[in-house]
């Protein structure tokens, strides 16, 4: 696949975020344009966690940043809470961004090394002038307690004194400071050890339940996403392959790419038969994506049709949308 279409949009009033026909392109030189995201649409419903899964370079991070208008998409609309962010004047956008916060992959680079934990978490509160000094200090303590850190022990230390997992907790506390409605997590656990991954995944889940957050969760690993998501969107080279609820998607992947991703997840059981048909090679350059279905160059089921025509997203089973001419039976 990798096709276009909007069949999977639910058009409900509960949608917190609806992105339509987003395109993000970067010009590297006169005749070289990276097509990072091409005509992609998706929506996220209140209280839902949408997982966006794909390999490095599939445009998932660019997509998340385009939602926050960092930088804004080249075309398309991002409707958050009824307002189209792409049309918003700079000043309004600044305040709109506070209700969507981002957690980054590299826990250390996302914290300014010169600032203490207190300053880091105080920063958003200070920008928006939330409460008096005493109220803000109180709030900082609550936030740190929420993410499982002891305020007295951490407040005056700087990010490089902490492990990756602790830095990620600090990032989460900071992101929650402004009471956002939506959290965008960009590979929040990829840089962490397996044992710490589970702690952070559980923490994110707790925070979501406790504060009624809506979440976008980006990862290259389908196994990580399974525990936290309500809906999974698989991306390849700037387009959508498949969208479905995790129960359906993991049990009966309809797209060949989804199936290949599932096959690559390591299984912690030496007696289990390992998948022999692994996805070979790497994605082609986003500067010059294949015609038709963008996945066809690595797809075992590809036919002439796939080169000619771009598949559109369609519903194969209720709630499962796939963009493929020859879906997995």
């Amino acid at each position: 696949m990798a096709g276009s279409g909007t069949a999977h949009l639910r058009n409900t009033v509960d949608a917190v975020l609806t992105a339509r026909d987003l395109t993000v392109e970067f010009r590297i030189s006169k005749d070289k344009i990276v097509k990072a995201v091409s005509g992609l649409s998706f929506d996220v419903i209140k209280g839902e966690t949408l997982a966006i899964v794909g390999e490095s370079g599939c445009g998932k991070t660019t997509l998340a940043r385009a939602v926050l208008q960092l930088p804004p998409p080249n075309s398309g609309e991002v409707v958050f809470d009824g307002t189209d962010l792409t049309q918003l004047p700079k000043e309004n956008l600044r305040s709109a961004r506070t209700s969507m916060q981002m957690i980054f992959q590299d826990p250390i680079s996302s914290l300014d090394p010169r600032m203490t934990v207190h300053q880091l978490i105080d920063e958003p509160l200070e920008i928006w002038d939330r409460g008096t000094r005493a109220e803000r200090d109180e709030r900082i303590n609550t936030l740190l307690n929420n993410v499982g850190l002891e305020p007295e022990l951490v407040l005056n230390r700087r990010s490089y004194e902490f492990s990756g997992g602790q830095c990620q907790r600090i990032s989460i506390a900071r992101a929650l400071a402004l009471d956002p409605r939506m959290l965008i997590c960009d590979e929040p656990v990829s840089a962490l050890d397996v044992s710490i991954q589970a702690q952070i995944l559980n923490l994110l889940q707790d925070m979501k339940d406790r504060f009624g957050l809506t979440m976008i969760f980006i990862s290259h690993d389908l196994a990580v996403v399974k525990a936290v998501s309500n809906r999974v969107m698989v991306m390849y080279l700037g387009k959508i392959c498949e969208v479905a609820a995790p129960e359906v998607l993991y049990a009966k992947p309809a797209h060949h790419y989804t199936k290949a991703l599932l096959n690559s997840v390591p299984i912690a059981d030496p007696t289990r038969q390992r998948a022999t048909e692994l996805l070979q090679g790497e994605p082609p350059s986003p500067m010059n994506p294949p015609s038709g279905c963008r996945f066809r160059t690595r797809c075992a089921a590809a036919s002439a049709l796939c080169a000619d025509q771009e598949p559109q997203l369609r519903e194969v089973t209720p709630g499962q949308f796939v963009a493929c001419h020859h879906p997995v039976a």
Partner: protein, 283 residues
């Protein structure tokens, strides 16, 4: 109290002494610099009344070198300060804003760097610090100002490029994106996140630049377009050259001052650099 090695303490001490001369040199109970001691022409080191001797015109060397310190160090600090300030503002803004502004700025920096420093300074001094009436001497303060200006112009692209490079690497960090996603204004991001992180790198380079500028000033004076009449270290060296055979101390005294100062600033630049690197390694 941080632990320093002996050379570092020496560098601090020496530069402290130089700063003391610059600020309070006039308070010292010396023989005045401008006074000529005709009875003590070219006496050597440790003569009575003249610890560092006198030169061929009968000026007291200690008084001369202290007066020279004031001018040389003033020129160095003023031009590095000004050049650093203007250069880093230009560099930081152009790197943060990117796009056309950045392209233009980089081009300007590159053009500035491609002009040989001394030639540029020479040209500026000879145009701006000459009098129409050749019989009237150009006042020293005007020479100093022109030198500061020309050295500043030389330093702007050098320091500006370093500020730009450092800004590029810091602005790409995710905490800058995080600050923007929290709704922080660009001006505040630059002040709170970029400047404090870029500053240490600039300070390290500024120390090295002070040394370079002191040498540049001396070179210009030796070439005869700097500060005349032995009023700066370079001027003293220029003058002392002639007496090298029979009164080497006239040359060596300013030379030793100059060398120790440059070694000290370079050393401190390295110390700041390595402190910075070890912190960077943890980040």
């Amino acid at each position: 109290m941080p632990k320093f090695t002996k050379p570092t303490w020496f560098a601090f001490g020496w530069l402290g002494l130089m700063l003391f001369f610059v600020l309070f040199g006039w308070l010292l109970p010396f023989k005045p610099w401008s006074f000529v001691y005709e009875n003590d022409l070219e006496v050597g080191l440790f003569s009575s009344g003249h610890i560092l001797g006198t030169d061929s015109n009968g000026y007291d060397m200690l008084a001369s070198v202290v007066a020279g310190t004031r001018i040389s160090i003033f020129i160095a600090i003023a031009s590095v300060g000004l050049g650093g300030l203007i250069g880093s503002i230009l560099g930081i803004f152009s790197a943060y804003l990117r796009g056309k502004i950045d392209t233009v700025m980089v081009t300007i920096f590159n053009v500035g760097l491609s002009v040989p420093n001394l030639v540029l300074a020479l040209a500026l001094v000879s145009v701006l610090a000459t009098n129409v009436d050749i019989n009237q001497a150009v006042p020293t303060w005007r020479r100093v100002m022109v030198l500061v200006m020309s050295l500043t112009i030389v330093l702007i692209p050098i320091l500006g490029r370093i500020a730009r490079g450092a800004t590029l690497s810091w602005a790409g960090r995710e905490f800058v994106t995080a600050a923007r996603s929290m709704g922080m204004k660009d001006s505040k991001i630059i002040l709170k996140h970029i400047v404090p992180n870029v500053l240490p790198a600039l300070i390290a380079v500024a120390f090295l630049a002070v040394g370079v500028v002191i040498i540049a000033e001396a070179s210009l004076s030796i070439l005869g377009v700097g500060i005349p009449d032995g009023a700066s270290w370079g001027g003293m060296i220029a003058r002392g050259r002639n007496d090298l055979e029979y009164a080497p101390h006239v040359l060596y005294v300013p030379l030793v001052f100059l060398a120790l100062t440059v070694i000290s600033t370079n050393h401190l630049g390295d110390v700041v650099r390595s402190k910075l690197d070890s912190r960077e390694a943890k980040v």
